[in-house]
Subunit: 133 residues, 2 copies
């Protein structure tokens, strides 16, 4: 309940984003800063949401997908219908993420193998033919 709010610049410095990005997220209804006159003030809730947004982005979620997931945190009193819908989306996402992790695991393994191959190439410095395929 600490009524500590951040200006747009403080927010930017704290999270490494630009003002434009924060305004954009507000326009897309991902953040809901309050106003002091016409100036934006970012609340604790906004900070929590931004953290989630940034993490979501690192996984290639679109802002729209992130918005829907964020809504999960704030429906609560809505109909169970709505709830189930959000729940469904999240379930699908989870499945995606798990299969993505599996692919990532095997890709890492393959890339590591490639790197070992690369080391061999650099080491031996010759046998130019029949490198690939």
């Amino acid at each position: 309940m600490t009524e500590e709010t951040l200006t747009i610049r403080e927010m930017c410095d704290a999270y490494g984003v630009t003002p434009r990005t924060l305004r954009f997220y507000e326009a897309k209804e991902l953040l809901f800063p309050i106003r002091d006159g016409q100036k934006r003030l970012f609340t604790k809730s906004d900070r929590a949401r931004l953290k989630l947004i940034l993490r979501g982005k690192r996984f290639g979620f679109s802002l729209e997908e992130i918005r829907q997931l964020l809504d999960m945190y704030h429906i609560g009193d809505q109909q169970a219908t709505q709830m189930s819908r959000a729940y469904e989306i999240a379930r699908e996402r989870l499945a995606d993420m798990i299969s993505q992790r599996e692919e990532l695991d095997s890709a890492i393994a393959e890339l590591e193998e490639q790197l070992r191959w690369g080391e061999k190439m650099i080491a031996s410095l010759n046998t130019p033919q029949k490198a690939a395929e």
Copy 2:
């Protein structure tokens, strides 16, 4: 060395992409189909590359990044300088992927937690206030 080539349509059907996508990849020098008159014919090498492209995409690699990685498979006889450069890129990518996997792991854990929370919400069907934060 089986001289089996695929037309653009066969290629599309085999990999679930559109002709436009294949032509686009050729324009971006990710694929190098040979020509029969003016028609494209995709070789075994193209098919191997396309598989890698599609997998790369699933991890959010840009086509340009993918192109650079693909080149690793085909330098072989180049100078070790070039090799080291590609090697470097791959090393960085690998580091990215590993940290990405860590984040993905924790995100999956959190999402699962959220889903359990969601189940509780649906179950109890009330206590609307103080849902989030």
